[in-house]
């Protein structure tokens, strides 16, 4: 007997590709092809005049990015340093707030409304406003929001003077007080993370707590033995989200520099080389973080 048409398996594959077709078209023409162009730019000297022409120069752009260019490495180090410093603080902060918001108390919706607000206000213009408070004026009111941080708001300046007088070294004092100065940055970066943690906390089966109560566990024990391990998978999600969010932001120093190189200096070769180095380093960092955390993550299934 002859089989009619395609097998079910093949038919389903065909349907899958049909559903994917718009996106696949995008992968080819909007993503893969430009990525290939970017790679060829990175190894070439790009000249733009009524069309662009490429002249193969080997690794010269990479050499320039890493050894000649004075800005890239500096911006890159700042971005990575900020990330390494901010992500753990973001995690602790958002976990703390999630734990605080988990209970159903009067006014919890108001607080949820406020804590999610930074996600809505994540506009470059709004941040520029914060910078303008400080940079254009030295008056006491206006310098309150000095820099992206908020040194004036919490007066950590006085604190650090005090600590120096106590005999601590400047470096130590900086380590202690810089989270205070960065508090605004941290708080605004944590909008999504708080609610991801909240999802993790809410998804813990209540039976676990009931069993623990019967066995005589107190709140502290329940937190460390139940809540914390159950939320571990969300820690991985949040770390990855925070890292990607910091690196992809168009307002981070490297991305701004790339934009400047491409559209102000028209140095497409160098900007592509920088993008590839940047992308490679992000991938390595994410791979390491993923491997380290997922090994220690406990999955309740």
């Amino acid at each position: 007997m002859k089989r009619k048409g395609l097998s079910l398996q093949k038919k389903r594959s065909a349907w899958a590709y049909m559903f994917l077709s718009p996106w696949l078209f995008g992968v080819l023409f909007v993503f893969a092809f430009p990525m290939f162009l970017s790679l060829s730019f990175a190894f070439s000297n790009v000249t733009v005049d009524n069309g662009y022409s490429l002249q193969f120069v080997g690794l010269q752009n990479f050499h320039e990015a890493l050894f000649v260019d004075q800005n890239f490495l500096q911006h890159f180090a700042t971005t990575i340093g900020n990330m390494l410093y901010n992500v753990p603080i973001i995690l602790v902060y958002s976990f703390l707030v999630a734990v605080l918001l988990k209970e159903n108390f009067a006014g919890v919706t108001v607080f949820k409304f406020i804590f999610f607000l930074p996600v809505i206000l994540s506009s470059d213009l709004f941040f520029s406003l914060l910078n303008n408070f400080g940079s254009t004026s030295a008056s006491s009111l206006d310098s309150v929001m000095a820099g992206a941080g908020s040194s004036g708001m919490l007066q950590s300046l006085n604190l650090s003077e005090y600590l120096v007088e106590l005999g601590l070294s400047r470096e130590m004092v900086n380590i202690i007080t810089s989270p205070v100065d960065k508090v605004y940055e941290i708080v605004t970066c944590s909008g999504i993370q708080i609610f991801i943690f909240l999802a993790g906390i809410n998804s813990v089966p209540p039976t676990l707590y009931e069993a623990a109560t019967v066995e005589g566990a107190n709140g502290w024990e329940k937190f460390w033995k139940i809540t914390f391990p159950m939320v571990m998978p969300m820690i991985l999600v949040n770390v990855v989200y925070s890292i990607v969010d910091t690196f992809m932001s168009e307002s981070n120093l490297v991305m701004e520099y790339v934009y400047e190189l491409s559209f102000k200096n028209f140095n497409f070769g160098l900007s592509s080389a920088i993008c590839w180095i940047y992308f490679a380093v992000i991938s390595v960092i994410l791979a390491i973080v993923f491997a380290v955390i997922s090994k220690r993550t406990f999955y309740y299934t």
């Binding site: 349907w15 718009p22 162009l37 206000l121 998978p233 168009e250």
Partner: protein
């Protein structure tokens, strides 16, 4: 015995009160940090110029005025720019949903050859900085040519597609707009949570795959769809990079703000504006700050309104699903 339980109860109540106090202090403190610049923004936007020079005025304007807002609105051509911004964000959102939904559905429900690799590509699109593929794409489209064909037909001139809306529609309709990789991921996770039985029942009843997608999967995913659309709208509205690259001739709010900023920091030749601005002491950074605050309030107000109305979608959906879980 009863005294003992009584004491235990008292201890519990005391501990509970302590927790409530600590919680309130922490939450109010953090909320203050978030709200501080917002409050400052509102206070400055409606503050008259003379209050800035009055050291006894700190937060609450002594002379309430709408002049700042009026000047900002006129200079930015607020109505027109707002319309452009909203249309841009709305249209992008609407166009992006279908390709993202379809891709998410394919990854959630179909087991096909290459699904693993293609899903890795989705993750890759999330991890690649937009600049990396947008810049070469832009450069290529500004000198668009297919193997010399177009040059031959067009008197040796390549087509400049960046002056048209073609790149914009190309990116939106193929699911490569702002953060679309994340949206595909979210849709996939949400589709995976829908029980297979409903689909199988529909299949037995003779519904084709497209009908199942359209009449069963989509109606069951309204919440996640609304959430993703809201996120997409907010992010597009706030974004400056995509709109400046893809819509060169359309003045959206961020571009209008840039014009406004250059108008108040240096005269740009527009007489109607200078007449209104002449009442301000534009050399003073504090006065400039008033005007900037008014402009940014105008830009953010629609977003705040959307958020106030739809906040439960934003918050509950992440809270329930963990965005990606």
């Amino acid at each position: 015995m009863s005294q003992l339980t009584h004491r235990k109860n008292l201890q519990d109540t005391a501990a509970h009160i302590g927790v409530v106090i600590l919680r309130t202090v922490l939450l109010v403190g953090f909320s203050y940090i978030i709200l501080y610049p917002v409050i400052l923004m509102f206070s400055k936007a409606f503050m008259a110029q003379q209050d800035v020079f009055d050291n006894s005025v700190l937060w609450i304007p002594r002379h309430f005025t709408l002049d700042n807002v009026k000047v900002a609105a006129t200079t930015m051509q607020y109505g027109k720019s707002l319309l452009n911004s909203v249309l841009f964000a709305l249209l992008s959102t609407l166009l992006q949903m279908l390709p993202c939904l379809m891709a998410g559905y394919a990854f959630a429900r179909y087991d096909f050859k290459g699904s693993g690799i293609l899903f890795a590509v989705v993750v890759l699109t999330i991890l690649v900085p937009p600049q990396q593929f947008m810049t070469p794409l832009y450069l290529h489209l500004s000198q668009f040519d297919i193997f010399g064909l177009i040059k031959a037909l067009n008197n040796g001139q390549a087509l400049n597609l960046t002056a048209t809306y073609i790149p914009y529609f190309l990116m939106s309709l193929t699911g490569f707009g702002l953060r679309n990789g994340l949206f595909i991921f979210m849709f996939r996770q949400s589709f995976r949570g829908i029980p297979r039985e409903t689909e199988e029942a529909a299949m037995v009843d003779g519904a084709g795959p497209f009908r199942i997608f359209w009449q069963i999967m989509l109606p069951s995913s309204v919440t996640i769809l609304v959430t993703v659309m809201l996120f997409s709208f907010v992010w597009q509205y706030n974004d400056t990079y995509y709109s400046s690259l893809l819509l060169p001739n359309v003045r959206t709010l961020p571009q209008a703000y840039e014009l406004f900023d250059s108008a108040i920091t240096g005269w740009n030749g527009d007489l109607s504006v200078t007449n209104m601005l002449s009442q301000y002491v534009l050399d003073d950074p504090k006065v400039l700050s008033l005007l900037r605050n008014s402009a940014i309030i105008l830009i953010l107000a629609p977003l705040l309104a959307v958020y106030a109305v739809a906040q439960r979608y934003f918050i509950q959906s992440i809270e329930r699903s963990g965005l990606v879980g």
